[in-house]
């Protein structure tokens, strides 16, 4: 396996990768909970997914280097993420057409919109 980290004179171990994944996850959660734009939330969700994918790959690399299970899962996550983005964006476009906004604070019709009686 080529050592791509030789240039910096430091080979990151399992812990470093997990910290990176956790940081990514925390940023994703923060984004999901705070972004007002639905598109921003979607991007934050991508962060969550990627942090999970990274964890898979890292554990694969460090615990059973001979196997490829974790890498398969990572590819799978990427595929799901792509599909999810398509569906989510389609919903957002539809929402925008109706309400001229994708601000999550304003998208509370299921609860608060005046129901026609």
């Amino acid at each position: 396996m080529p050592d791509i980290f030789s240039g910096i004179g430091f080979t990151p171990g399992l812990q470093h990768w997990l910290i990176l994944a956790a940081a990514l996850f925390a940023m994703g959660v923060y984004g999901v909970l705070t972004r007002r734009s639905a598109v921003g939330v979607l991007i934050a969700v991508e962060l969550l997914l990627n942090s999970a994918a990274l964890t898979f790959v890292v554990f694969n690399r460090f615990s059973r280097p001979a196997a490829v299970d974790g890498q398969v899962m990572a590819v799978f996550v990427i595929a799901v993420a792509a599909a999810e983005v398509v569906v989510a964006m389609a919903i957002f476009v539809a929402l925008y057409r109706v309400g001229r906004t994708v601000d999550l604070n304003k998208l509370d019709r299921l609860k608060n919109d005046e129901v026609e009686r």
């Binding site: 959660v29 999901v32 909970l33 705070t34 939330v41 999550l104 604070n105 998208l107 509370d108 019709r109 299921l110 609860k111 608060n112």
Partner: protein
């Protein structure tokens, strides 16, 4: 055991058919014919009751074929099916008890009911509720037969309530009339109140009977083996009337409210009987029950249902006799009601009300006859059943005759009748027969039964009761001839009476048949058919009793002719001379007013209002509180549910972290 039962004559094994026929007819007439072919409903219902009457006679013949008159007459339970199973050794059966008094009652009930049904075909013709009437009449007949055939207390109670319901339905038959509705409610409430006592009595008796069942039961079961289908059960009359059990109950020394256990239980049972048989002070519903159609009054409120109370006391007679005090209560209440109702009967103007009070009075006779009897002196018991038997005929006849008159005159008041002797000869003659029978004139039926009752009272050591009976005999003759004279003799006092016509044939035939019964029923040697076991002592006519009794009757008749044969002037001056006494009697001793005072003022204000307050504020308050709490809780937590996706997300993440924290601290 069941082998012996299987050898009973066919009619006895299928005695339940007597009650089943009216039930099937009730269902068929009520569900199919009433809506589709109301005119056929009456015919089918009537035919069904005639079939039941034929079956009842077959049962009677079979029973007395098995145990000839004069011999011992044991009670049989030829048919029983398990109905309720509470625990092993305590089941309740629905079945049929055949003994002299139940045979007597099924014959009386079915035959009188059949004749009343026939009469109703004419009386109710053209009535908009024709089909409904016959449906209820069949229901009543079924219930009454189920009641008299019941082999245990619980079945008795079920059918007891069923006759109450049918009576309620039929009193309120003209439901568009507020007075009929009020009368039906009154009858229902008063009898229900009495039935509360009955139920408590059943529970008391059933509980203690069941406790002793393990001890006493096997011996009793050996005694009755071969006579009953199925197992002996703790609520069976055959068990409850057993001397060994009654001795145990009486000696136990347990008391309920200060009186002995057995006495308390029997007085409670008697309370139910007094309600159904309209004994003072629970009599108030019966006069009002005359709001129902006249055939109903004849069948239910004269001949059959109101004797159910007497029948119940007779059915449980050994238990009553084992508690002398309870029997004394029966005798006193009976004698008092007898006199009390006869006095009121002398003053009423509505022909049906006079007959109603007369029924009360005659029921009083039957009650006190039971009250003066004893196990070793069954003359009163026999006399009571005898009077029940003869009374059914002549009282049904009186009511049906009164119905024919009312049908013709369109009024209930005797002062709007008069002179009907010529216009309605058949009704007049049959009414006269019944009047003579109830007045106790030889050779009509009432003479014999009343004679036996009076003899039983005198020989039973109750001279006071005998005196009351004699006095009432005179009063009975007086008030019956009062309405006879005013209704049938003299000039027509009203437009309706002047244009009255004889009843149609279908109404006249039952009148004639009942009149034959009223003449012939007295000649039956009754003591050889109905007794308490042991030697049948045929009583025969005793001149020492018959002469005073007949003189009393003749005295009453003479007085009635004296006062009423020349118009009502003399009677009016007599009433004026009596003044306040007459007014009190005329207003039925203000008993209704007392009841109204007690219920409206005392019960409403002291019991009902506090309970209503408690219900509105405490009970409803609890319910409202739970509702309010839920609503407040909902509002509180509803705030969290604001529709903001990210707020939900915060809760999700926070909750997850919290749970992880707990998990972490637990694992560590």
């Amino acid at each position: 055991m069941s082998g012996a039962v299987a050898e009973f004559p066919l009619a006895l094994r299928y005695a339940w058919v007597v009650a089943a026929i009216p039930f099937v007819s009730f269902a068929f007439v009520g569900l199919v014919l009433r809506p589709l072919a109301p005119r056929a409903a009456g015919v089918v219902a009537t035919l069904a009751i005639f079939a039941a009457a034929a079956m009842a006679v077959a049962v009677a013949i079979a029973y007395y074929g098995l145990y000839p008159p004069g011999a011992e007459h044991p009670a049989l339970v030829p048919f029983a099916v398990e109905w309720l199973r509470y625990q092993p050794g305590f089941t309740i059966a629905m079945g049929v008890l055949v003994d002299p008094i139940s045979v007597l009652l099924i014959v009386v009930v079915t035959s009188v009911s059949a004749l009343v049904h026939l009469y109703s075909l004419g009386y109710m013709r053209g009535d908009p509720g024709f089909g409904r009437f016959f449906t209820f009449m069949n229901l009543f007949t079924f219930s009454m037969l189920g009641l008299v055939l019941a082999p245990n207390l619980l079945q008795t109670y079920v059918f007891w309530e069923l006759v109450g319901v049918s009576s309620f339905l039929l009193i309120g038959y003209y439901y568009e009339r507020p007075s009929a509705v009020a009368a039906s409610k009154k009858a229902f409430v008063v009898t229900r109140f009495a039935d509360l006592g009955f139920l408590l009595g059943i529970l008391l008796l059933g509980y203690h009977g069941f406790t002793l069942f393990g001890e006493v039961g096997p011996a009793v079961a050996r005694d009755v083996a071969g006579r009953i289908a199925g197992e002996l059960q703790p609520l069976d009359f055959l068990y409850l009337n057993d001397p060994a059990l009654l001795a145990r109950l009486a000696e136990g020394g347990a008391t309920v409210g200060g009186v002995g256990l057995l006495t308390a239980a029997m007085i409670l049972v008697f309370m139910g009987a007094a309600g159904k048989s309209a004994m003072f002070p629970l009599h108030i519903w019966l006069p009002d029950a005359m709001e129902g159609p006249t055939p109903v009054s004849a069948l239910i409120h004269a001949a059959t249902m109101v004797v159910a109370g007497v029948y119940l006391v007779a059915r449980m007679f050994p238990a009553f006799a084992a508690s002398g005090d309870a029997l004394l209560v029966v005798a006193s209440v009976g004698a008092f009601t007898c006199l009390f109702a006869a006095a009121i009967g002398c003053t009423q103007d509505d022909i049906k009300r006079v007959l109603a009070f007369s029924t009360l009075s005659q029921l009083g006779y039957m009650m006190f006859a039971l009250g003066v009897a004893a196990i070793d002196r069954p003359a009163g018991y026999t006399a009571s059943m005898f009077h029940l038997f003869t009374h059914a005929f002549f009282k049904a006849l009186l009511f049906l005759g009164a119905g024919a008159v009312i049908h013709a005159v369109h009024s209930n008041s005797i002062w709007e009748m008069g002179g009907l002797r010529k216009r309605m000869p058949v009704t007049h003659l049959t009414f006269l027969v019944a009047t003579l029978a109830i007045a106790g004139i030889w050779p009509f039926a009432g003479f014999f039964s009343k004679d036996e009752i009076l003899a039983a009272a005198l020989h039973g050591g109750h001279p006071l009761v005998f005196g009351v009976g004699l006095l009432v005999a005179a009063l009975t003759a007086f008030y019956m001839f009062r309405i006879y004279i005013v209704t049938f003799l003299g000039p027509a006092r009203h437009e309706g009476a002047a244009h009255a016509h004889e009843a149609p044939l279908v109404m006249a035939v039952p009148l004639v048949l009942l009149a034959l019964g009223s003449i012939g029923a007295g000649w039956i040697p009754f003591a050889s058919f109905v007794g308490l076991g042991g030697e049948a002592t045929e009583h025969g006519v005793e001149l020492a009793i018959a002469i005073p009794a007949t003189s009393a009757g003749l005295l009453g008749i003479g007085l009635a002719f004296l006062l009423y044969s020349k118009g009502a002037e003399r009677a009016r001056s007599g009433a004026a001379a009596l003044g306040a006494v007459y007014r009190t009697i005329k207003r039925k001793f203000y008993i209704d007013e007392v009841y109204v005072f007690l219920t409206r003022r005392v019960v409403f204000n002291c019991v009902a209002r506090p309970i209503a307050w408690f219900d509105r504020h405490a009970v409803d308050g609890m319910v409202n509180l739970s509702g309010q709490t839920t609503r407040w809780g909902g509002r509180l937590f509803g705030r969290l549910h604001g529709g903001k996706v990210q707020a939900y997300g915060v809760w999700l993440v926070g909750g997850t972290l919290f749970l992880l924290l707990i998990l972490w601290s637990a694992v560590r």
